[in-house]
Symmetry: C2
Subunit: 325 residues, 2 copies
């Protein structure tokens, strides 16, 4: 089996790659369990290859013909399409967001179609496809009403993935990931960046500023469960879906205050006291349009999982990212 991860150099791409390598085999669109032969990590910059002979890196522009041709130089069985312009940047640079998040996604879908063989295509969508006046808990049938360009672009991507699937060009799945927290690494231009930053920076001995009110409720998933759910979403047979390949991925619904309380329990007062609040209206305006809780019925039926508490998510970060200290 030959698998391509776009955004394979990012934190989620790397963790997904590691999980796939450990697993050693995945299920193709014909339902056959197939041994992993080659894992291609594609990103703007060269991605680390884990000193594993099965892994290769491809660097370049996601939408360039040359890069797509190299990715499809040998048959592709599965694509995990994680690469995207994040929410804050897509809001600031309207044209770039649509070009990368939609046009490049189409370019990849077209490459799958041109290849044939109905490759699996896991598209990482987002809870940002929802917004505006929402019920407290969103059912699976909730309409998409994005209130950001990023959310609109993800909703468009979902429609492409579904129609290419319906036409038999791919075996697609559009997985609406909750905000991933605690995310390692540096802050990025996602409006949700703070949802990891306010925990990660204090745990690393650095002060953090929370740009939204403590009452802000969010729908979160830890990296381990996010990776697990991406693989579950890939493995599920096409027959497990109904009229849509869109899945609201399970998460937990917590307020910023509850996140800080969890940090206090896990890491103590000195760490939690490093957080101060200073409203950033631009970030708050985006985040307050996001949904806060989901039924996630289909996702759970497929076998997707979520953290039992946010304490667990913080401990996971300490174990996985700070273990060496």
């Amino acid at each position: 089996m030959r698998i391509v991860i776009t955004g394979g150099g990012g934190f989620l791409g790397r963790k997904l790659a590691r999980a796939i390598l450990e697993r050693g085999a995945l299920t193709d669109s014909e339902g056959r369990r197939r041994e992993l032969r080659e894992l291609v990590l594609l990103d703007i910059a060269e991605a680390p290859t884990f000193r594993d002979a099965r892994v290769s890196a491809l660097a370049g522009d996601l939408a360039s013909d040359e890069l797509v041709e190299r990715a499809f130089a040998r048959p592709v069985d599965s694509v995990f399409h994680l690469a995207a312009v994040v929410s804050g940047e897509a809001e600031q640079d309207f044209d770039k967001g649509w070009r990368v998040n939609v046009d490049a996604t189409r370019r990849w879908l077209e490459a799958c179609r041109a290849q044939g063989g109905r490759p699996k295509f896991v598209f990482t969508s987002s809870v940002a496809v929802f917004g505006g006046e929402l019920p407290a808990v969103l059912p699976d049938t909730q309409q998409t009403t994005p209130q950001s360009s990023y959310g609109a672009q993800k909703a468009v991507g979902e429609l492409y993935v579904n129609d290419y699937t319906r036409k038999g060009f791919i075996d697609g799945r559009a997985l609406r990931l909750p905000t991933v927290s605690v995310r390692p690494g540096k802050p990025n231009r996602a409006a949700s960046s703070f949802a990891s930053g306010i925990l990660r920076e204090p745990l690393n001995g650095v002060d953090a500023v929370c740009p939204v009110p403590a009452e802000t409720r969010m729908w979160l998933v830890s990296p381990r469960h996010a990776v697990h759910n991406l693989i579950v979403g890939h493995e599920a047979p096409g027959s497990a879906f109904g009229a849509t390949r869109n899945v609201n991925v399970p998460g937990i619904s917590v307020t910023v205050r509850e996140m800080v309380d969890a940090l206090r329990r896990v890491a103590g007062d000195a760490v939690a006291d490093r957080i101060t609040y200073a409203l950033d209206p631009a970030i708050d305006a985006i985040v307050r349009t996001w949904p806060r809780d989901f039924e996630a019925t289909l996702g759970r039926r497929l076998g997707m999982t979520s953290d039992l508490s946010f304490d667990e998510a913080i401990r996971q970060y300490v174990d996985d990212e700070l273990g060496a200290r």
Copy 2:
């Protein structure tokens, strides 16, 4: 005020043009009532101009730079974007459907953005954005789950119209029209073509074959109410909408059997007996995925209307299209 109707040579475009000419003024995105100065009817072939000095025709490819430039040669205050590849053709020619229904729509939205002044943009969407397992009566919050490429393309168009509106590039409205019946003229490649043909052909003394079972329930609107609702959708102030500019346009929910019964009441047995049934699996497969009834709460609140009975829709066809005989 300068208004452009794409698909202005089609039956709905012509009826809309006539209604706008009679009205003589519409409301712009600043809420000002403005006298109609110029109405541009754009279509592949030259559209009739009603011997009215305010009307001009533009013929050509919807997405060509040259045609778009001519349409925007003087400031455009409103676009009614009716032109589309219809459902049956979009299903048969995947690339043409996406190119015309999505890429050309984007081209027009970009032209509005480049012009500035936030022109109104009325996008005719369709109930085909819904499909699969649906509730008996769809609420306004129902998710889009298109089961045809046409429906997927319309759902994508809606997302563009909403995001361009949110960014202030246009003042958009995406109106999900029911199947229009009784539609004059000739059969076309829309899967819904029969919903007019089984009434129109018998009324014109021609036998008709119904390609779907008599129990098939549909969501219909007559041309007069469709035109009225397009104008109501244009006139509504932006503040009348919530988190979405998508509107489920009111209609009536009737079965094919009820349509034939209405024809029998209005035109007699000899006419109604011209209908025979012969299942066309391709058409049936598309139509059976369509929704059958809607709450249409927002649409009615905006002032949109629907036929009181299907008898009314048949009488309207007789009055408007057969009046001369």
